[in-house]
Amino acid sequence: MIPLPNLDVIAFLVLATFAVLCGLSVILQKHAVASALSLVGVMGALAVLYLMLGAEFLAAVQMIVYAGAIMVLFVFVIMLLNAGSEQKSNRPRYFAYFAGIPALLVFLGLIANFILRELPNSASVQFGAFTQGGPAPVGRLLFTKYLLPFEVTSLLVLIAIIGAMVLAKKEID
């Protein structure tokens, strides 16, 4: 029997590559809809990564809330405004391209270096090793330790709903 390659590693590499490619696509695509769909791709990849990290509930919420609600809203607005693709700017951004991107790469390297140095032997991720991310434990913690933040957040969402309605309502001439 052929020894199976370690699925955790393969899955991570595939998903990570996918996520990074989609992320690149988010910022490089000319069209807003394409960016939005790439972002959905990132979110999908992240959802699966959450699943591997034992956060089942979050994986589902990630799909339902982020991909299913927030991003649909984005796509909806893009279509509604028919935002189309970006026009060429009459002011080229040399600063961003020639200073910003390299700086960003340096920045990234520093962070990566920092992480790998600070966490030299962090736990290795194995699917199914950590199973506390189901709806039951999350819900229990949410309604005990984090009850106040939860209630405050719900209030915030209510305010956001009202605010969005007021803002988006057509002004009466």
Binding site: F95, G100, F114, R117
Partner: protein, 620 residues
């Protein structure tokens, strides 16, 4: 304490009433507003009676601890209520008289704007007054103290449309601040000396102190407390706010500025009797100030024409009597006078209110007269109070005043004689007011009518109380202790006091009933003196010239034009201009362009991270 914790209910009930009327009152019908106001006070009155009857003779005070309010180092101030024999009397006066005046006010205020607002304030006052009386430590007393001051301010300025009402409210508030300042200093000294504000602890410690070693500090505390009492109880030289406070509605004058709040000063002196007993100098000061106030206010009262002003000065004068009693260590007599005074002065004010109500707002006695037949019930009840304040036995006022003057006689002979003369003056000016109002011909233009039952009812109850109330409360008051000198040895002194009162009435009758014009000629003959007295000794003007104007001038010329304009403004504007100039340069960075802001944020974050790397890099 095995008893249930139930004292808190007494002040809370009026607070609930105040909250309901204050928040919802405008939407409720008047009947509901009055019902809420009266029922809450009635509730606390009944609760007071139930509590008192349940607690027996109160040989030991009953106290209740609710929660710790302030804890700082060794200082531990709780919200504690206490009921002892002194509190018992005060509670009965406050809730009983308060209840009657609430009932009265429903009739008196019937046509006024802000009906609910009025009762909300009145209930609020009851809450703070009861807190003051029930409190077991100085700080909680101070809460009530300030609270009644607030309620008083609100109620004096109740007629929002009248400028003088607002001014009077402010005057009361500001003058009281001086007293409160004294009271606060007293509290600081108490904390410093005794390390606590709790009555039980402070008085127990004070009682153990050898007088010789600590006379200084105790005198200082006592005097500072007395400064506070002077402010609240309108003694010289802080009495000026009380006559002006008559700008408020009459029930307010009766409740706050005659029966209850102004006696808080007497209450706190009596409460701190342990300290005063050990500070002879302070006691002398209390006596002198009380006597001086009594005389001065009585003489002013003789010349006033506004019926409420007369009674206001009368109140100031009677408060002086109470302090005289305290100064003579006859605290229970002082409290006795508080009680009887609450009855008869309430009647006088309520009667005056009834008259004013009958005359549609007329307050000048020169426009009254002959109201005896027009408002018979008011007249009869007022007569009872008149005889009581004049010191005619067997009415209540005679009993307490006798006791006070006898006690004063024990302290000093000359003060007794001045007191007797003042008692005569008291009888004179009250009789003057009665004669000018109810006897002779009616000189006004309005059509007087008797007041409704809601006003005459309380008048009758209080009138009867001022007649016989002395017998009712005597034992209660005397249980406070220390023992008062018995009448037996001093019956002759008692006769002198009664005689002084009768002479005062007779003189007034002579001058104002039988020999019209005599008063005018007196006034002419005395000329400048009369005018000086009529103008209330020009005290307000004196204060204005000596205190108010210099401060104003100093503020204007030194602080405003000088310090503020040149120094502060110069500095501030100089800084502002500099910053503005720098801003002109820096503004270029603010393009209003979001990505550039974001770039700066990113650069900042990156810089922070790099810095962190460098700093932490060495560690590993």
């Amino acid at each position: 304490m095995t008893e249930s914790q139930s004292l808190w209910l007494i002040p809370i009930l009026p607070l609930i009433g105040a909250a309901i009327n204050g928040l919802l009152g405008r939407r409720l019908p008047k009947a509901a507003v009055s019902a809420i106001a009266i029922l809450t006070v009635l509730g606390s009155f009944l609760w007071v009676i139930k509590t008192i009857s349940a607690l027996g003779d109160l040989a030991a005070p009953h106290s209740e601890h609710y929660f710790t309010w302030i804890q700082s180092g060794t200082l531990d101030i709780g919200v504690d209520f206490m009921i002892d024999r002194l509190t018992r009397v005060m509670l009965l006066i406050v809730t009983g008289v308060g209840l009657l005046i609430h009932i009265y006010a429903t009739g008196y205020m019937d046509h006024e704007e802000g009906f609910a607002r009025f009762f909300s304030y009145l209930n609020l006052f009851m809450f703070f007054m009861l807190t003051l009386v029930l409190a077991k430590n100085f700080l909680l007393v101070f809460v009530g103290w300030e609270g009644v001051g607030l309620a008083s301010y609100l109620l004096i300025g109740f007629y929002l449309k009248e400028k003088f009402a607002g001014d009077a409210g402010k005057k009361a508030f500001i003058v009281n601040r001086i007293g409160d300042f004294g009271f606060s200093l007293a509290m600081f000294l108490i904390v410093l000396t005794f390390g606590s504000l709790d009555f039980t602890k402070v008085f127990a410690a004070a009682a153990k102190m050898p007088v010789e070693a600590h006379a200084g500090i105790l005198t200082a505390i006592a005097l500072l407390i007395f400064v506070g009492a002077c402010g609240k109880s309108a003694q010289m030289p802080l009495y000026v706010w009380l006559p002006d406070a008559m700008a408020g509605p009459t029930p307010v004058s009766a409740l706050i500025h005659a029966a209850t709040m102004v006696t808080a000063g007497v209450y706190i002196v009596a409460r701190a009797s342990v300290i005063f007993d050990r500070a002879p100098l302070a006691l002398d000061v209390v006596s002198y100030i009380g006597l001086l106030t009594a005389v001065v206010a009585a003489t002013i009262g003789m010349t006033q024409y506004d019926i409420k002003k007369v009674f206001a000065y009368s109140t100031v004068s009677q408060l002086g009597f109470m302090f005289m009693a305290c100064g003579a260590k006859a605290y229970s007599s002082g409290i006795f006078h508080v009680a009887t005074h609450a009855f008869f002065k309430a009647v006088l004010f309520l009667g005056a209110g009834s008259v004013i109500h009958a005359l549609h707002g007329e307050q000048d006695m020169r426009n009254m007269g002959g109201l005896r037949s027009k408002t018979p019930q008011t007249f009869i009840t007022l007569c009872l109070a008149w005889l009581a304040i004049s010191g005619v036995p067997p009415f209540s006022g005679a009993m307490s005043k006798d006791e006070i003057l006898i006690a004063v006689h024990g302290k000093s002979e000359w003060m007794f004689w001045v007191g007797v003369v003042t008692a005569g003056l008291t009888a004179f000016y009250v009789s003057r007011a009665m004669f000018m109002t109810f006897f002779g011909e009616y000189r006004g233009k309005a059509h007087p009518h008797e007041s409704p039952f809601s006003m005459t009812g309380p008048l009758w109850v209080l009138g009867l109380l001022s007649a016989v109330g002395g017998y009712l409360v005597r034992d209660l008051v005397h249980s406070i202790g220390p023992e008062v000198a018995e009448h037996g040895d001093h019956s002759s002194l008692g006769f002198i006091v009664v005689a002084a009162g009768l002479i005062g009435i007779a003189l007034a009758a002579f001058v104002y009933l039988f020999s019209r014009g005599l008063s005018q000629s007196f006034a002419k003959a005395l000329g400048p003196v009369y005018h000086l007295v009529y103008d209330k000794y020009r005290v307000d003007e004196f204060y204005d010239a000596v205190i108010v104007r210099p401060i104003q001038a100093g503020s204007t010329w030194v602080l405003w034009r000088g310090v503020d304009h040149y120094l502060v403004d110069g500095l501030v504007q100089g800084i502002g201009n500099t910053i503005g100039n720098v801003g002109v340069v820096l503004r270029r960075a603010q393009g209003g362009h979001i990505p550039s802001y974001a770039t700066w944020i990113a650069v900042g974050a990156a810089a922070a991270l790099v810095g962190f790397q460098i700093l932490s890099g060495g560690a590993r």
